[in-house]
């Protein structure tokens, strides 16, 4: 015998014989049920010897001759795998507007994919018909039946969404459902009542199809699904009206012919050999087996045969071969009811539906359903239950309730796990995608993320099972179960969005993955009965409820995207959902969507946009009585106004409104934290430091609530308060705590850690340390290059370069600033200005004085233009320039700038600020460097004023005060008041020496000045010790300080002499 080329398929006959049984292919465990149809259909000779176990063997149709590895569906599978393995290289695989996600199964006529409807944002199942396996007439028929099905809209029927064409192939888009086929469901023993209840639902679906003129033609347990996921859990849906013909005749060749027993075997052979007949023999009505066209009555027979099997675990008519089976159906008598618990009246109902004469059956499917539902005992037991048996809409909760009444445990199955959302396969894919990035800590990030998501998924499943079990035990109502299921559905949507992102992670996603995992909303809220029931934000039963739930799942996705740093995608999703919410006109949803959009806009630093969205959220929330949303929106808006928009009055008003609202939700730790933290920041901006500290400390003491990164943010805010109040050790401690918290809870790869380290290094530098910040900054630079924030690579280099200026290591400073500036865009003005000023000093120090001077002046001018003369950026750059003004030269230019800033501050009444004191001291130094008598006098006034200001300020200003005292002492020396000078300088040295590195050139310079004053005042012995220390410092500082060293040696000779 020739091996048939599988690519040519089974031909029309084989194709017709196949059924399109999605029953198995759509179920989560479909892949486990793949026994072929009656084996060896192509060889009639072998047929009779094959044992028939039809009930178990028809889950999936014959898969053609042999699994072709070259057919179109295999090529598509190859592309799908390529898309999974190389996500960045591949355009996503699509059929029409649907993005293909996975292959669910394949049958004789086609392949079933799970896909995503990008337009309507939902999951669908797509059956793609393989034209090379279908005759043109078969294809026409399939299109016709799909169109017929699209007419049937019923809760117990899988709906057809679209029929289309893709690359010359017909595809049918169907509602995506998850669950088990009744064949699988019935594999376990079930109480008879549960079985009947489930079949009644299926019967209602059939009846609805009949009303629309669609005949199923192949009803069997494999073509009925029992959903085990979503709000519709327990609902039964009939699918695969694949052979439905909308009442058309099957064909003339066998129509109406009488069939006698002698021809049964011939029929059997014909059925399978030619495939002229469609449907599955074991459940087929006798008249159908005889070749008569199928009608409502034959569907009724198939339905009854299936239910019979479900109740008695055997077919009504048995045969150990196909021929014997057909003979029994055509000739045999229905056996008496097998012993068991099934009541006799059920058997009587089934016997009527299984009548050989179609006219003797029930007049319609609906009548059969009514008869099955009409259990007199059920009516006695509970009228409500009996009534609900026929209820079709809203069967979800009832499905579980009624099954539970009979003691069946429905709280298991795939819907209680997170198959495809988060499972082992996904975890492996995450590991792979993380490993494919260049992030050095990717492996650890993957491990942490996977562990966190495993925990989350486990808790999710447990919560789901618990809710189901409680409902079963009668502890919670169906309504509450619905609310819990919907809440868990939103959590799953967030998890799914994150999981989708992680399996395609890039470096930026890897860095934030653990944070995103930790940011998934708490599952406990879904188990909080009071909160769920008290929530007025669920629309009444109906289509709106499903749409609102869908929108809320989208919002959960947006939140997950945002926490993973995909802010643009998150913003887009939130904006779309907000528009959808407006269109639905459901105010609570509008509020939620605008709140989410506002929160994301804050993160994107779109302040006006954020304020607008949050304002809309507040309005909609108040309209809808959604106080929780209003409270959160206010808590967020007060920050936007107070910090980002500089609108102190608006922030104060928001704070007054938010306080009582927040207090109403005493148990909501997150809300309380958010309010306290944001208000704390606003107070910080308003320079109300004590109040800011109090609020932030209260925020950081809250248990639960914020995610680890948010909690670290509060600690860092406390660090900023401490730094502002010059409590530098406390500031350092806070930033350290923030960093350690993120490292411990989220992992060392998080980008915030670099920011915290930078803060710490700056504080250490402000404390006068050199080696510690240098080491920290070097650590920072050795961290993985963050793709998400280039300036995080630039700032540490600039700070390091600045640390190199004092010891005059200009070459190092120049190299560092050059590298830093390369990382920056022209738009990064603030770091650029800082970097260029440092670079200017370094170049001048290396001898390129003119270039340095030009660079410095350009950078300082740009800062003034861009941010304002008295801005923080302009002032801090100018202070650096002033400190090293002697290196670069053109002291007059620096003097002019300093005077301009001081004038601006005087205009604003800010001469009492610390920054005014720094500027006065810097101006004093610049004047002293010019060595004029008038300059020295003015320098004395300025330095004295600066010292007085600094003494009056809170916090630790010792270093700045020491600087001011040195300036004052040098001014006194120039003013020829050596005694006073010596006193000031010695006081400064006493203040500075314990804090500074003994080799610090600044302190050496102060010692030299003090020694000079002492020598002039005739106190040489005291001077000698000072000069010894200065000599030691300079001689260890290298050739750059040779001139200073020579000067000290000269002074020492004078002091001796």
């Amino acid at each position: 015998m020739k091996v048939r080329d599988p690519r040519s398929g089974a031909g029309p006959a084989g194709g017709e014989a196949a059924t399109l049984a999605e029953a198995a292919t759509l179920s989560a465990d479909a892949r486990a049920v793949t026994e072929p149809d009656a084996e060896g259909g192509a060889d009639p000779e072998a047929m009779p010897s094959e044992p028939l176990a039809l009930a178990d063997t028809q889950a999936t149709p014959p898969a053609g001759a042999f699994p072709s590895l070259d057919g179109p569906e295999e090529r598509r599978m190859e592309e799908l795998l390529v898309a999974r393995l190389f996500p960045r290289r591949q355009a996503p695989l699509t059929i029409g507007r649907y993005r293909v996600l996975d292959r669910l199964g394949h049958g004789g006529m086609g392949v079933v994919y799970s896909a995503y409807d990008l337009e309507l944002d939902r999951r669908v199942a797509i059956k793609l018909l393989l034209s090379d396996r279908l005759s043109p007439s078969a294809e026409r028929r399939l299109r016709r039946e799909a169109r017929a099905m699209a007419k049937v809209a019923h809760a117990n029927v899988v709906s057809v969404i679209e029929v289309g064409e893709h690359d010359g192939q017909t595809f049918v888009v169907m509602e995506h459902i998850r669950g088990r086929s009744l064949a699988q469901w019935s594999a376990e023993p079930r109480p008879w009542r549960a079985v009947v209840d489930v079949y009644i639902q299926a019967g209602r679906g059939l009846a609805a199809a009949h009303r629309a003129g669609v005949i199923h033609r192949d009803f069997k347990p494999h073509n009925v699904m029992i959903l085990d996921e979503g709000a519709d859990v327990g609902r039964v849906k009939v699918l695969d009206f694949g052979l439905a013909r909308a009442g058309e005749l099957a064909g003339a060749e066998a129509g109406g012919e009488a069939v006698d027993g002698a021809r049964a075997a011939e029929f059997a052979a014909r059925l399978t050999a030619t495939g002229a007949l469609m449907g599955t023999p074991a459940y087929m009505a006798p008249e159908q087996l005889g070749g008569a066209p199928a009608d409502e009555r034959s569907d009724q027979y198939s339905f009854a045969a299936s239910l019979y099997e479900g109740l008695y675990a055997e077919l009504p008519f048995k045969g150990d071969s196909l021929a014997a089976l057909v003979r029994a159906a055509l000739e045999g008598e229905l056996p008496p009811p097998p012993s068991g618990s099934v009541p006799a009246w059920v058997h009587r109902v089934l016997a009527r539906a299984l009548s050989r004469d179609p006219a003797a059956r029930f007049e319609s499917m609906a009548a059969l359903c009514d008869a099955l539902a009409g259990d007199p005992r059920a009516r006695r037991r509970s009228f409500a239950l009996a009534a609900s048996l026929c209820a079709v809409v809203g069967a979800g909760a009832w499905g579980i309730g009624s099954v539970a009444a009979d003691g069946v445990d429905p709280c298991t199955g795939p819907s209680f796990e997170l198959v495809d959302v988060w499972d082992e396969g996904r975890a492996a894919a995450v590991r792979g995608s993380f490993a494919a990035t260049t992030v050095p800590d990717a492996e650890e990030a993957a491990t942490r993320t996977i562990a966190a998501l495993d925990d989350y998924a486990g808790a999710w499943s447990a919560g789901r099972r618990e809710a189901c079990a409680e409902h079963r035990a009668g502890a919670i109502s169906a309504e509450l179960l619905d609310l819990q299921t919907a809440c868990l559905g939103r959590r799953r949507a967030g998890l799914r969005a994150l999981s989708d992102l992680l399996v395609r992670a890039d470096a930026a996603v890897v860095e934030r993955a653990t944070e995103a995992a930790a940011s998934l909303p708490a599952l406990a809220a879904c188990r909080d009965h009071d909160a769920l029931l008290g929530d007025p934000q669920v629309p009444p039963e109906g289509p709106l409820r499903a749409q609102v739930q869908g929108a809320r799942e989208r919002l959960a996705e947006a939140a997950a995207l945002a926490s993973a740093g995909r802010l643009d995608d998150a913003a887009e999703t939130a904006a779309e959902t907000a528009a959808q919410a407006e269109a639905l006109g459901f105010a609570p949803l509008v509020a939620e969507a605008q709140l989410r959009a506002g929160a994301i806009a804050v993160e994107r630093r779109r302040s006006e946009e954020a304020e607008r969205a949050l304002t809309e959220a507040i309005t909609a929330a108040l309209e809808a009585d959604a106080d929780r949303i209003a409270a959160e929106a206010l808590a967020r808006r007060l920050y936007v106004r107070g910090d980002r928009l500089g609108d102190a009055a608006g922030a104060a008003a928001d704070s007054a409104l938010a306080a009582p609202l927040v207090a109403r939700f005493a148990g909501d730790a997150y809300l309380r934290w958010l309010y306290l933290n944001n208000l704390g920041v606003v107070r910080l901006i308003g320079r109300e430091f004590d109040e800011a500290r109090r609020l932030l400390e209260e925020a950081s003491a809250i248990e639960g609530g914020p995610n680890p990164v948010e909690r670290a943010g509060t600690l860092a805010n406390l660090g900023i308060v401490a730094r502002q109040t010059r409590d530098l050790p406390a500031a350092r401690e806070r930033f350290q705590a923030a960093r350690l918290h993120v490292e411990r809870e989220v992992g060392p790869q998080h980008p915030l850690i670099a920011a915290f380290l930078l803060h710490e290094a700056n504080i250490l530098a402000e404390l006068g340390r050199v080696e510690e910040p240098r080491a920290l900054l070097h650590d920072l630079l050795e961290r993985p290059g963050s793709e998400s924030a280039a300036h995080l690579g630039a700032w540490p280099r600039i700070t390091l370069a600045r640390l190199e200026l004092a010891p005059r290591r200009y070459a190092e400073a120049a190299a560092l600033t050059e590298a830093a500036l390369r990382l920056l865009e022209p738009a990064d003005v603030a770091p650029r200005v800082q970097g260029e000023v440092v670079a200017a000093i370094a170049r001048a120090g290396l001898g390129e004085v003119d270039e340095g001077r030009a660079l410095r002046e350009a950078a300082l001018s740009r800062a003034e233009e861009r941010f304002g003369v008295a801005s923080v950026t302009a002032i801090s750059a100018l202070l650096v320039a002033a400190r090293y003004a002697e290196v670069v030269g053109d002291l007059a230019a620096v003097e002019a700038r300093l005077r301009r800033v001081l004038a601006a501050l005087a205009d604003e009444g800010r001469l009492g600020d610390a920054s005014a004191a720094y500027l006065q001291r810097a101006l004093a130094d610049v004047l002293l460097a010019q060595r004029t008598r008038e300059g020295a006098r003015e320098a004395l006034t300025l330095a004295s004023a600066a010292a007085a200001t600094l003494r009056g300020l809170d916090g630790d200003n010792a270093l700045d005060l020491g600087d001011a005292e040195i300036s004052r002492g040098r001014a006194l020396l120039d003013a020829e008041e050596p005694k006073a000078a010596a006193q000031a300088l010695l006081a400064a040295i006493d203040r500075l020496a314990p804090r500074l590195d003994p080799r610090d050139p600044k302190i050496a310079r102060a010692r030299v000045a003090a020694a000079t004053a002492l020598i002039i005042a005739g106190r040489s012995p005291e001077a000698r010790e000072l000069l010894g220390d200065a000599h030691a410092a300079y001689s260890g500082a290298g050739a750059a300080f040779a001139a200073e060293l020579a000067h000290v040696e000269g002074l020492r000779r004078r002091a001796r002499g």
Binding site: A32, E35, L81, L85, A428, A436
Partner: protein, 205 residues
């Protein structure tokens, strides 16, 4: 090292283009490997196999050629799959266990051509190791040395095992074939069958 290894290394260092070339070169072979052993999960196992190759940094130094390495990885993936499917920790003894024993459910393969089906069924009934050896030898055209590398056994052992596996396969086919004529044609033509199955499976190779 052949250039498939170069492609793998390029992929490991982030070059997806190389990864895709490598994948496409060997996709069908690997799919074929899994198809008659775990049909329902074959594609997932293919994906897992390539991901496992991607992760196999450092382990590839001693390898001479790529295909034995790839099949070795695939074999491990398959064993893991069976172990997981069985949900027990019993060590898998490949010489004793057959795919018919291991399959959680029957295969979906329905052979229209009886001989092909017979051969496939026969292969599933011989011990897993024998099945792998026969498939590599007949379908993939791998040499005894390469099979030895993939399965981590000496070349001479492989030769012996090929002979024994063939005898075993013939016995299994004899046991399941319904008609003497069919049995005869299948056994006599095992090489021919293997070749035609290979062609049928791979389409244009």
């Amino acid at each position: 090292m052949d250039d498939d290894f170069a492609l793998l290394q390029a992929w490991q260092s982030g070059d997806d283009r190389s990864g895709e070339r490598l994948f496409r070169r060997h996709y069908r072979s690997v799919l074929r490997f899994f198809h008659n052993k775990a049909a329902g999960q074959a594609h997932d196992l293919v994906q897992r196999t390539f991901l496992a190759c991607l992760e196999a940094r450092g382990r590839i130094r001693g390898e001479r050629s790529f295909r034995p390495f790839l099949f070795g990885v695939a074999r491990n993936v398959l064993y893991d799959h069976y172990r997981l499917a069985r949900r027990d920790r019993v060590h898998l003894v490949a010489e004793e266990v057959t795919v018919e024993d291991l399959r959680p459910t029957p295969s979906s393969l329905l052979a229209q051509a009886r001989e092909v089906e017979l051969l496939l069924r026969g292969l599933r009934r011989v011990p897993l190791e024998a099945q792998m050896i026969l498939e590599m030898y007949y379908w993939e055209g791998m040499r005894a040395r390469e099979i030895g590398e993939a399965l981590e056994m000496p070349e001479n052992t492989v030769r012996t095992k090929i002979r024994r596996a063939r005898l075993r396969l013939e016995a299994e086919i004899a046991a399941i074939a319904e008609t003497p004529a069919l049995r005869q044609s299948t056994i006599v033509g095992i090489e021919t069958w293997a070749r035609s199955v290979r062609e049928a499976l791979s389409g244009v190779d």
